[in-house]
Symmetry: C2
Subunit: 439 residues, 2 copies
């Protein structure tokens, strides 16, 4: 059988990693697939030459040489961002080529258009590398858990944010200091907004929701809060209360509506997600049949992401060789069964909250605060009031019983307006993992 | 397209779970696969009738009615054990039927014969449910990590053993007491040997090694130690030293030889495998490209295992519908590339050990013991000698630096023969996770 030929657009970190994976694993892949998988041509406008181990592969500055080459079966897009990536992918599809991409921003925002075009043209779009880096998250959800109604997905989906929170926790340092360190080490970008403000995590959540529910979701339907507001004092109080702070993507399936949110969350320290530290990702799927399945590994990086891109290439190569294109629908459910779902408004959510109020150290303060909370139907499970500081201001930390988001917001707005409050209150949602039934 | 028809042999716990999964998920599966998947007939000699929700499915006591029915595409074997399961599977294959099984004992010991028969007949054998219950371990290894040389696999693969060790750890109770509790609750079988003596774990390790390395391994090549010898005192000392005791399956790839062992292991408490408690399983794959990928979930149980069996059925159904049978080779590598590998003899292994010696409480004892260890080239990293008991016997606990298994055995035999020793020494291997390179 003739070799499967791959064209690559974008020879940056992930692109060079993917090329290296195909190079280093060439013999192994042939023993598994039965045919050579060959990187034929690379398009990149920023580099002058490919590294010596890739001698024999053509380098071009003209992306058309990849998009229009009749000898190329699979086009791999690894330049990221919306344009020109989107136009390149649509052009590849129009030319009858299969596509593999790691582009979560694009897939989460323009997936519908891309998948519809691929469906119409009878080609495949692989995007395993767009969520969870090298972890086979998408294959697990689409195939391994195929016979499940997905009840929830909870994940630590951004390694940079998790690295920053883990370091803040271990070293008691403020966000800005740790971010600077991470930038110096190359773990965070010069502009870290996507990673630390939860946007990248929301992109990935949108993709997982597509697959879990057979729906499409607009990014602006996801409630997003980042970690730049997290202070060491809240990490420390959280710890005293038995929690770790993690930036979680959360969706729960309520049947007629589904949650979609990204925010810092207090995770009970004995929960598996609390054990996921540093630059690692962890994603927990709960299925009605299988219970909880958690996957853990590097969510980014040159070689792990290259490994996931290569897995998609192999999957498509096998379908080319067997004449079984689109054997598994791109979005898990077949095209005609995709349907919209209502997103639960954040205000309607209910759960326990961690609340920290900075107040003057006077008698009666706690009673005033708890009075306001009570008026909004918020009852308190525990209170910590520690130390007294020079300015006469003390932190009052409370953990509430289940409360409605809308009520908490209203109560805190009222509390923040009090004279006795010396700074804005802080609220962090607490993860309640209802615990599935025993199987 | 006509429905895919399934025949089931064995309506026990897993069989009824699988039937329930197909029943409850019928609509969802049709929306994903595009065709109905129908359980046509069930063969079981012990039951009189199927539950009401399975009305319409034929029940028979004659297994031939499943094996020889020309209308059945996929035969699911869920009776377990070697015979008659093996004969049934070979008969199904001979009749041109695809097979799905959860039978780890059979696949680990007679897999070569079964896969060769299936290969010759052009049918598939799915065995996702044989390792890790509902966790899509086998798909992750064969497909998600396809572009990796597997460097190691380490796993907690038996939920019963992990439940017993976790409960011993939490409650400080001896093995026999916790085993009895587990048996009363139905978590452990009346004859718990397979689970607690590591045999079931070894079956699963053999299957993972087949897939990881493209080799076949005989069960007697795996070194197996169970957990029945673990005492609460060692769990407590281990904890003081920063470890949790887990029954691990371990294989490491040394190129020309590979490790294959199952034994209780002291796992550093910050290692992900140390967080896996209760009846859960966790499997860590280390690939040369992807780094560490860990999968976690229920390793057994009616519905989780049913979920995995159903995933295999869907995989095969898709191959039937697309004419892409054996699209992914059963053992990851194509038939012609399977080859044997040498197994590292346990005596050649090297690593740190936890050693507990019971000795009379006399001056000079520690010097005698450490002298013998030193003579065998074993150096000590730390010693704990605590409390003194009524009988004048004290536990002396040592953690060694890297030592050879053979040397440790010889030294301990010599120490055990001393008059100053009041009971047999205990040794537990300590997990060293060399930490992969950063990606």
């Amino acid at each position: 059988m003739e070799a499967i030929k791959v064209g690559l657009i974008g020879f940056g970190t992930v692109g060079s990693g993917m090329a290296q994976v195909l190079h280093e694993q060439a013999g192994r892949l042939q023993k598994k697939v039965g045919t050579e998988i060959v990187l034929k041509r690379v398009a990149d406008i920023r580099i002058e030459a490919l590294p010596p181990h890739l001698a024999g592969i053509e380098l071009t500055r003209d992306v058309q040489q990849v998009l229009a080459d009749p000898g190329i079966d699979i086009v791999v897009e690894l330049i990221g961002g919306i344009e020109p990536a989107k136009s390149f992918i649509l052009a590849a599809i129009a030319n009858g080529k299969h596509v593999v991409t790691a582009n979560k921003a694009l897939i989460s925002q323009h997936g519908s258009e891309i998948f519809a075009a691929a469906h119409a043209r009878g080609v495949e779009v692989g995007f395993e590398a767009s969520v969870g880096g090298g972890i086979p998250v998408i294959k697990a959800l689409k195939e391994g858990l195929v016979a499940n109604r997905i009840l929830s997905v909870m994940g630590i989906l951004n390694g940079t944010a998790n690295f920053i929170l883990s370091t803040m926790t271990d070293q008691g340092l403020p966000f800005a200091t740790v971010l600077r360190q991470a930038q110096e080490k190359g773990y965070a970008e010069a502009d870290p907004t996507y990673d630390v403000e939860g946007i990248d995590t929301a992109h990935k959540l949108a993709i997982l929701m597509n697959l879990a529910y057979g729906m499409s979701i607009r990014l602006d339907e996801i409630s997003i809060e980042g970690i730049s507001c997290i202070e060491p004092i809240d990490i420390a109080f959280g710890r005293d209360l038995g929690y770790r702070i993690k930036l979680l993507a959360i969706t729960r399936n309520h049947g007629d509506h589904v949650e979609a949110r990204v925010h810092p969350t207090l995770v009970p320290e004995d929960h598996m997600l609390a054990s996921i530290n540093g630059a690692y990702n962890g994603i927990n799927f709960r299925g009605d049949m299988v219970g909880d399945v958690l996957l853990y590994g590097y969510g980014a990086g040159k070689m792990p992401t290259g490994s996931a891109v290569a897995a998609d290439i192999v999957d498509i190569a096998r379908n080319i060789l067997n004449g079984s294109i689109n054997r598994v629908p791109a979005l898990s459910y077949r095209h005609e069964h995709l349907r919209p779902r209502r997103i639960t408004p954040l205000e309607e959510l209910q759960g326990p909250y961690y609340i920290r109020i900075s107040a003057v150290d006077h008698p009666g303060v706690l009673s005033t605060i708890s009075g306001i909370l009570g008026k909004h139907g918020i009852s308190i499970e525990s209170v910590i009031q520690k130390g007294r500081n020079a300015q006469g201001s003390v932190p009052v930390v409370m953990v509430t019983h289940d409360a409605r988001e809308a009520a908490v917001r209203q109560a805190l707005a009222q509390i923040d307006a009090l004279d006795i409050c010396t700074a804005r209150s802080v609220k962090i949602r607490i993860l309640v993992d209802d615990g599935e039934e025993e199987h």
